[in-house]
């Protein structure tokens, strides 16, 4: 209990102490608190700053490496391009050099080859000379030919003259005009006259006028031109004096058309010709050359009934199918029978177209 008592005795003190101490504490509490906050804030600040600094350092390192990586990459690219461009420039320059040489060489060789041009021009001038010469020669030849032809013409003319004047030739007794006795040599014409053949006096050949003369108007009349009478008397003739027949009659006789006899006019194979003609006409009218065949097949089944004539057991008879007259092959002298032709009557065909002996028309 003592303790209690001590304690109780001290409790006052303790309480006092407690109060005192608490009050002291209270007195410093704010200060201390502030101090603690300050210390803590400072410390924390330091800590965070250190941390951030650390982070920054780390970031810088990372960035440094990354950027250097990127930078190096870019740098490599740039270097590559640069070297490429440099090389290309170099190559181009070299190519230009090569091309320059080559092009110069080629153009000088094939296009503007001076020596070739010179050669060409020389060749052209040579050709020119040759052509000039050839043309000169050609012209000369032409001229010579012309001259020759002229001379020949002249010679012919002179020959003709000599033939015309042949009567001036001197004879043994009488000297001609070209053979003067007072001269030493006879005139050259004399020699020419000696050589020439005398010209015989020619009958003036009555040549018919070429086309537009009235005498041949009958010949060129075509039947289809215009309607005209059978005979028109020619009008440029004079009536002749003397006991002559009337001119119209004579002309009629003279210009009468050819009248062949019936035998000549009508061919003996007329029938054949006519048939041929008929066939040709038929053929011309045909639209189609092929035969028109029936569409049905009826005709195929039709039975062929031969002619009685040909189906005889004695063989076919040619009478009536190949010949229509009696034939006697034994009498033939060649392998064919003669064809029978009827003679025409002269009297009928010439009636009224001949002169009688007395001069009358019969």
């Amino acid at each position: 209990m003592a303790t209690l008592a001590r304690l109780q005795a001290r409790s006052m003190f303790v309480a006092q102490q407690y109060y005192f101490r608490n009050s002291v504490v209270d007195l410093f509490r704010k200060k201390e608190y502030d101090a603690a906050v300050k210390i803590q804030s400072w410390f924390r600040g330091c800590q965070v700053r250190a941390y951030i600094r650390n982070l920054h350092r780390i970031t810088t390192v990372i960035q440094k490496w990354w950027r250097s990586y990127l930078g190096r990459q870019e740098y490599r690219l740039i270097v590559k391009f640069a070297s490429c461009a440099m090389k290309m420039n170099f190559y181009n320059a070299m190519a230009v050099r090569i091309q320059r040489r080559w092009r110069g060489y080629r153009i000088r060789k094939y296009c503007f080859n001076y020596f070739y041009l010179k050669e060409y021009l020389r060749a052209v001038s040579e050709t020119n000379d040759a052509i000039r010469e050839a043309l000169e020669e050609f012209a000369e030849m032409k001229e010579r030919e012309e001259k020759k032809a002229d001379l020949e013409r002249e010679e012919k003319k002179r020959d003709y003259q000599a033939r015309k004047m042949h009567y001036l030739l001197s004879t043994k007794q009488i000297p001609g005009v070209y053979n003067s006795p007072f001269r030493k040599d006879p005139d050259p014409w004399e020699l020419r006259l000696q050589k020439a053949k005398p010209l015989t006096s020619q009958r003036s050949k009555a040549k018919p006028k070429p086309c537009i003369s009235l005498s041949d108007w009958l010949a060129c009349t075509s039947a289809r031109s215009f309607p005209q009478s059978e005979i028109l008397p020619p009008i440029d003739r004079k009536q002749c004096q003397g006991p002559f027949r009337d001119i119209t009659e004579v002309l009629e006789q003279r210009y009468k058309p050819l009248e062949p006899t019936l035998r000549v006019a009508e061919p003996i194979d007329e029938l054949k010709v006519a048939r041929g003609e008929f066939r040709r006409q038929e053929w011309m009218r045909n639209v189609n050359d092929n035969m028109f065949l029936p569409f049905s097949s009826y005709h195929k089944n039709k039975k062929y009934i031969p002619l009685m004539n040909s189906s005889s057991k004695y063989g076919p008879n040619s009478y009536g199918s190949q010949h229509f007259r009696d034939e006697n092959p034994k009498k033939w002298i060649c392998d064919k029978d003669f064809q029978t032709v009827l003679p025409s009557f002269d009297l009928f065909s010439k009636y009224g177209k001949l002169y009688s002996k007395a001069g009358q028309i019969i």
């Binding site: 041009l117 052209v124 050709t127 043309l135 000169e136 050609f138 032409k142 086309c211 537009i212 289809r224």
Partner: protein, 509 residues
């Protein structure tokens, strides 16, 4: 009345008709009678006689009509208006050859005057019958028909198209192959008339195979035939490169060059025309002609004739030289320039001079060498005088100016340029001074010569506007010389010297 008396009446009538027609036909041959005949109403009288029973009278009436229509276009029009053509066309198909000939003659005489009259003939349907006449046996009929067709085709492209459409071209080509010279001649002329209008027509003629036959006849001795053949070939060749090449492929070179030596002037002219028409198309064709020696032959030909016959040759040289510098060089070494300058100074007519000036310009415009070749022949002063002359035509002036300009711009041959400093007008002087300004900086001898010959003095006297091209040229000439020389030759320098003498105060003490 006896039969004889009756017939006598007819006889007399026929005789009178014949005599009338023959007299008219004969009178129509003289131009002085024609007016009288026309006033006497000959047309209306001849027309019924075309339908006469007697063929001779028909023929002679047609002949007389043809002669009348041949004379002038009034009479030809009267024939058209008189409705005579259908009758003629009808009988052209029906009658004998003499009548056909006469009828074709009338058609030809009518058709030759004007396109309208030719069209009237075409409208009558004459072409078909004329084409049928081309197939006739008689060469005279063919000739007359070909002649008429040629005269119809001559006027314009439509008419010749109509002729071609009627199928005339192949038959005309057949006609060329006939032995008769006259027929060949006229058929060739008709082909030429057909093909001259357009490339298509020429192509039709070529398709009918005309070229080979025409080319064969170049060597024919008959000069009139040669004329027509050459003319036909040139009319074919003129249209296009293809046609010209086809003509060349018929191997006309060097045969055609012999025609340049022909006696006949027109053969020469047509041959030159043919060569010109071929040369003008491409450098290759020109080259072919040059290689065949055509240029030399042409130059000789130009030298041997006068006037219009030269003209195609001169133009041909110009065309050849215009194609390329090598060809121009070929013309120069063939001695073409002296010949052309002779033409330039000799010919009295302006259009030939103009052609020669043009050709010279074409030769000289390529390189300094060409220009020099032209300049040494002393052609430039002639050209200048032509340009300056008031008598020359406008065309000649333009052409010679162009030629001078072309040549001067290339010319570095100073002795030839020098006279131009004294007598050239300013627009040409510009080029002359320009040439000097280009040459002098590089040639010391020329610089010296330029001073001694008085060129520099002349240049200083030229009054050029400051800033103009001429002034620039003058300045560049002046820059080639020391300043004292330039000042010495400047006009008025003696005065300035004298002034200095006046103003000079000697130092006397």
């Amino acid at each position: 009345m006896s039969q004889r008396q009756v017939l006598q009446v007819f006889e007399q009538y026929q005789k009178a008709r014949t005599q009338f027609v023959q007299m008219v036909a004969e009178l129509a041959t003289r131009p002085q009678n024609i007016e009288t005949l026309q006033n006497a109403g000959v047309m209306s009288l001849l027309r019924p006689l075309l339908l006469d029973v007697v063929p001779t009278i028909q023929q002679t009436a047609a002949l007389a009509l043809g002669r009348l229509a041949n004379y002038n276009d009034d009479l030809a029009e009267a024939v058209v208006k008189g409705d005579i053509l259908p009758q003629l066309v009808y009988s052209l198909a029906e009658q004998n050859r003499f009548y056909k000939k006469a009828a074709a003659f009338v058609l030809r005489a009518v058709g030759k005057h004007s396109p309208q009259l030719a069209q009237a003939i075409v409208d009558c349907g004459a072409l078909d019958t004329l084409v049928i006449c081309l197939e006739d046996f008689d060469p005279g009929v063919k000739e007359a028909a070909a002649w008429a067709l040629g005269y119809i085709a001559r006027h314009n492209a439509e008419l010749s198209q109509a002729v071609v459409d009627a199928g005339a071209a192949p038959l005309l080509v057949l006609c060329i192959q006939e032995p008769e010279i006259a027929l060949k001649r006229i058929a060739a002329s008709a082909l030429s008339d057909i093909s001259k209008h357009s490339p298509e027509l020429a192509q039709t003629v070529v398709d009918a195979g005309a070229i080979a036959h025409l080319a064969q006849m170049i060597l024919n001795p008959d000069s009139k035939l040669k004329r027509q053949v050459l003319s036909a070939l040139s009319q074919i060749a003129k249209h296009s490169v293809d046609l010209a090449e086809m003509v060349v492929e018929a191997e006309i070179f060097p045969v055609v060059l012999t025609c340049l030596k022909d006696k006949d002037e027109y053969v020469k002219k047509n041959a030159s025309t043919l060569i010109r028409e071929i040369a003008k198309h491409t450098p290759e064709l020109s080259q072919l002609i040059v290689n065949a020696g055509g240029v030399a032959a042409m130059i000789d030909c130009i030298g041997s004739c006068k006037g219009n016959i030269r003209l195609p040759g001169i133009m041909m040289l110009g065309y050849v030289a215009a194609h390329s510098e090598n060809l121009a060089m070929a013309v120069i070494i063939s001695k073409g320039v002296p010949q052309l300058s002779i033409c330039l100074s000799e010919e009295p007519e302006d259009h030939i001079k103009a052609a020669a000036a043009w050709a010279i310009g074409q030769i000289g415009r390529h390189t300094p060498e060409h220009a020099r070749a032209v300049a040494v022949t002393n052609t430039l002063p002639v050209l200048l005088s032509l340009y300056m002359s008031t008598e020359s035509s406008e065309d000649l002036q333009v052409k010679s100016k162009k030629a001078i300009k072309n040549i001067l711009q290339k010319c570095t041959y100073l002795p030839a340029l020098e006279p131009f400093l004294y007598d050239a007008p300013p627009n040409i002087l510009k080029h002359v001074v320009g040439q000097f300004s280009k040459v002098l900086p590089h040639d010391s001898k020329a610089r010296r010569l330029f001073v001694t010959s008085g060129g520099l003095k002349k240049v200083q006297e030229i009054k050029a506007e400051p800033g103009s091209l001429l002034q620039e040229y003058i300045n560049s000439i002046n820059n080639c010389y020391p300043e004292e020389i330039v000042r010495y030759y400047s006009p008025g320098y003696s005065d300035t010297l004298l002034q200095r003498v006046d103003s000079y105060q000697p130092l006397t003490k």
